[in-house]
Subunit: 214 residues, 2 copies
Amino acid sequence: MSQLEKYPRPSVTVDLVIFTIVDDDLKVLLIRRGNEPYQGLWALPGGFVGIGESLEEAAARELQEEVGVRNVYLEQLYTFGEPERDPRGRVISVSYFALVDAERQTIAAASDAADARWHSVFKPPRLAFDHRKILDYAVWRLRNKIEWTTVGYELLAKKFTLSELQRVYEIILQRPVDKRNFRKKILLQGQIRELNETRSDGAHRPAKLYSFKQ
Amino acid sequence: MSQLEKYPRPSVTVDLVIFTIVDDDLKVLLIRRGNEPYQGLWALPGGFVGIGESLEEAAARELQEEVGVRNVYLEQLYTFGEPERDPRGRVISVSYFALVDAERQTIAAASDAADARWHSVFKPPRLAFDHRKILDYAVWRLRNKIEWTTVGYELLAKKFTLSELQRVYEIILQRPVDKRNFRKKILLQGQIRELNETRSDGAHRPAKLYSFKQ
DNA sequence: CCAAAAGTGTTTCACTTACACCCATGA
DNA sequence: TCATGGGTGTAAGTGAAACACTTTTGG
């Protein structure tokens, strides 16, 4: 233990960029700070890593505490460790991003007691610490990820229509997507299963429902 | 400071995966451990993050100390924080990977005093801690990266031939690369400049030299 | 003149993009 | 019957992959 004791230790936190889609917009959960520093500004939810807890466990615990959800998509982003990033002392932040789906985000809304709120990712308020940098990085990562992987499904309910999925892509990428090419690409991936159900929604043809495999 | 003081703090280290190419092989720098735990096993070079030092600075300092090089390509990889990864206590490791070019790796060899050595990445010895996982992740990242970016140049001297660059790709990807397609792709990228020099190397046609722009 | 690495184009195939109309429903 | 979003196919273009011979040099 000698080597370990010789050095002053920084504090280590996890900070979460929790995304969801509401009202046709990509949202991030922010918390209004009640204390100095940066009192009154908005910040990413986060907290200290327990001494017996893995980083991923700490992130999952925060997610549970702040949003009341479990088993959502969670991925480590980057570790920020500039010595001056927190004026109170040396704090190293391991950032994660999470995707909360449409079904469970209502639970999240419940936790919106007073000082937690969904904000548009594309015009966020001024953020505390270096959280704007973290947010920007998370958005960049999400955009890349959605093009190469299937994370898009994490933002939808279990059953969804192809139009809903297309909207997720358009909202994240902030550009229109061609309907026919999109459907071709998604169906070719073979990652979704067509269900024997449709959803009627107003005065037009009902849409087929699909579910994500695994 | 109250919040910061309330929690027991983990130790934070940086661990480095330092790559270079020697003898037609991708190598990683490893250090033989002189103390418990894992005495006698090989480990990635690394060390504690100084309290006033950014993570990147700590990584650059380690690189300087271990390999004697500065201003090489350095990129944060991932942060490993399982509570049991170090039997001496809670140690969170921020890993970086570095690319040391052919010209400067001779300096590195000098530092190979007794217990530091270049090992083949593809058949490494048994590693201490979770360093095998870190190494595997770094190799995976390097392979992806070389396909989408221009990091390959970081492993070569300032002036190089296209065949040398091709070898870098073949060694990292561990598969043969078509000469004509490779040259077409690289030249189309517009990232290298043809020099008015050639290099003669034995009884055959001399190769044109190129340099990387910026 | 021989051995050895450098250098060079064309064809094929797969994937991406652009694009417009009919369908099923509720009001 | 009309308005609304759901659903479908084809042609053109772009980028990746396969592939073999000539050039320049030193010995």
